[in-house]
């Protein structure tokens, strides 16, 4: 066994009534690895990610964070273990500045007497430091998110997910809503995270994304592990075949 495994799902099944959404699915990811997860609509990608993030409890099977078996009761639990989700709809508040979005719900505070007040200076400093670390270029940390382009918003969403030393980031279709010229920036950002030692799970329909950033790709088909390969040992056509349930 590889001791670098940061997250592992063993024989996870998930039933909704009589429907089997996941059937004995296995997944593992090592430190600094980018794993692509592909599959058709209804293949179980989203359900698997929701199990990993603690939104759903697996009906069978178990999860291991850095080798330790864990039971997740809510996304808060997985966040505390260093797993963050970047949602497809971005989950940003457009009326708030970048820094406020990154720290929403976890704002730095200072105590004055018995009261807690927002520490605006500290938030600004942390935001600038973090954006710099991820090489995200924006005019200012005080810029409102609604003034940003789609790619910049995605970058802010990723910055938000990684602001608290995330070890694993799950991204659901990170380039789906982006203009072509912005896709590259987001993919660069994923590679940046990898270089910082963060493990990334990318769900994507776009073969370009998968073949640009991933180290390994796994395909789900009708709720089961269908195929898996290191990226260098496979081809686009083969992966597209997997999505459609075809194997040579």
């Amino acid at each position: 066994m590889n001791s670098d495994i940061v997250l592992e799902a063993k024989s996870v099944s998930k039933f909704f009534g009589t429907i089997t959404a996941l059937d004995n699915v296995n997944l593992k990811i090592t430190k600094g690895e980018v794993l692509g997860v592909v599959g058709d609509n209804g293949a179980g990608k989203s359900t698997l990610m929701k199990v990993l993030s603690g939104l759903y409890k697996p009906s069978e099977g178990s999860l291991y964070f850095s080798g330790d078996k864990v039971i997740l009761n809510s996304p808060r639990d997985s966040q505390n273990l260093g797993l963050e989700m970047v949602y497809q709809d971005l989950a940003l508040a457009g009326n708030l500045p970048i820094g406020d979005n990154i720290f929403l719900g976890r704002e730095p505070i200072k105590k004055i007497g018995p009261f807690n007040f927002l520490d605006h200076k500290k938030r600004k400093k942390l935001t600038e430091k973090h954006l710099e670390k991820l090489k995200i270029n924006v005019q200012s940390a005080d810029q409102k998110v609604e003034e940003l382009s789609g790619g910049q918003r995605q970058a802010v969403a990723i910055a938000r997910a990684t602001a608290f030393n995330a070890k694993i980031v799950i991204m659901d279709e990170p380039t789906a809503a982006l203009a072509v010229k912005e896709v590259g920036k987001v993919l660069d950002l994923i590679l940046n995270l990898k270089n910082l030692g963060v493990s990334v799970i990318v769900i994507s329909h776009r073969m370009d994304d998968i073949f640009t950033v991933c180290d390994r790709v796994m395909a789900l088909f009708q709720g089961t592990n269908f195929a898996e390969s290191m990226l260098k040992d496979t081809s686009r056509n083969e992966v597209i075949g997997w999505i459609m349930g075809k194997k040579d």
Binding site: P75, R76, Q79, Y87, D89, L90, A91, L92, A93, G94, N95, L96, D100, N101, L104, G105, R106, E107, I109, F115, N116, F117, L118, H120, E146, E147, L148, S149
Partner: protein, 335 residues
């Protein structure tokens, strides 16, 4: 418009967004001063304006917070009436004045809590519906407990908040008749406290976040329902304080108290630059909105303009203010 002009124009937007409304007040004051040089800026008239807006400003501040969450509270006028009736009945029952004074804010608090719990627990499709319901319920209850007749005559201590005067004899010399209304001081203190609450605390930040994108707030682990209950409760509490001020001003609790004042509150909030779509607006803007309504009414009264024209003017200003909001969103949102 060429590119350069356009960009200067866009650069000016944040400036006008922040201070444009104060500029508008300045213009109004100047014009009215020129039209009524002896009266308008007299101490007596200025304190009069502040006394008039003080209780309405409480409603506007509460409704403002609700509107920031992209909600609405139509019941604040009825909350004023019910808390006023509660106060009157407590006063008539002979309770000590400090208890009687607490009754109005307490009734307001409970009404707001009722709204908040109704909206979240009953999963109302929109706060409009819950607070439209309580608009009728609260006024109905107020009439039930009072028998539908006015209750008049409160102790002086109770009236201090709405009618108290801080004499300036010690500053302006013996025999000076100038004074500062207690209600003005109360208004400034409360606006300052809520400015701190909305801009410098986590819950304040979350209120704006909910208005911007409730989904994002939830994903950030914020208990949106809990924050909404807090917001509606505070709104009711402020309306209760409005009732307390009104008790002092009128020395009477009457069935029509606060009638339609919810609409004035909403108007002041919108004129003050808050967006009906939620997530946008400032406490200073609300203050300005309240002042604009107050100055406009006062000025038009001084000029003997008919109350019907006042209605037409205020309505036009609301539409204009929202149209400016629409234009601003178009210009400042890149998509």
């Amino acid at each position: 418009m060429d590119k350069n002009q356009e960009s200067t124009f866009i650069k000016l937007i944040p400036f006008f967004e922040k201070y444009g409304i104060l500029l508008l007040i300045l213009i109004m004051v100047t014009v009215l001063h020129l039209l009524q040089p002896d009266v308008f800026l007299s101490w007596r008239n200025v304190t009069n304006i502040f006394k008039q807006v003080s209780w309405q400003s409480m409603l506007a501040l509460g409704v403002f917070m609700v509107i920031v969450t992209a909600g609405i509270d139509l019941s604040v006028g009825s909350i004023v009436m019910l808390s006023l009736m509660g106060l009157a009945i407590a006063s008539k029952a002979g309770l000590p004045w400090y208890v009687v004074m607490l009754v109005a804010p307490a009734v307001g608090f409970l009404c707001g809590l009722f709204n908040g719990l109704g909206i979240t627990l009953l999963r109302m499709p929109h706060p409009f519906i819950m607070t439209l319901g309580t608009l009728y319920i609260f006024r109905g209850v107020g009439n039930l407990i009072s028998g539908g007749v006015p209750i008049t005559g409160f102790a002086d201590q109770i009236r201090v908040i709405g009618n108290g005067k801080i004499k300036l004899e010690s500053i302006l010399g013996e025999g000076a008749r100038e004074y500062i209304p207690t209600s003005l001081i109360l208004m400034i203190v409360i606006f300052f406290l809520f400015w701190i609450f909305l801009n410098h605390t986590r819950i304040g930040k979350w209120i704006y976040a909910i208005g911007g994108n409730p989904g994002a707030a939830r994903a950030a682990g914020i208990n949106v329902d809990r924050i909404l209950v807090i917001v509606y409760t505070l709104c009711g509490f402020l309306a209760g304080i409005g009732g307390l001020i009104l008790a002092g001003r009128t020395n009477s609790a009457y069935p029509n108290a606060g009638l339609q004042s919810e609409l004035d509150a909403i108007a002041a909030v919108i004129i003050g630059g808050a967006s009906f779509f939620g997530g946008r607006g400032t406490v200073l803007g609300v203050f300005a909105g309240v002042m604009i309504m107050g100055i406009l009414r006062n000025g038009l009264n001084l000029m003997n303009v008919s109350v019907f024209w006042q209605q037409v003017l205020i309505g036009s200003i609301i539409i204009l203010a929202v149209y400016i909001d629409v234009l601003r969103r178009q210009l400042s949102t890149r998509n």
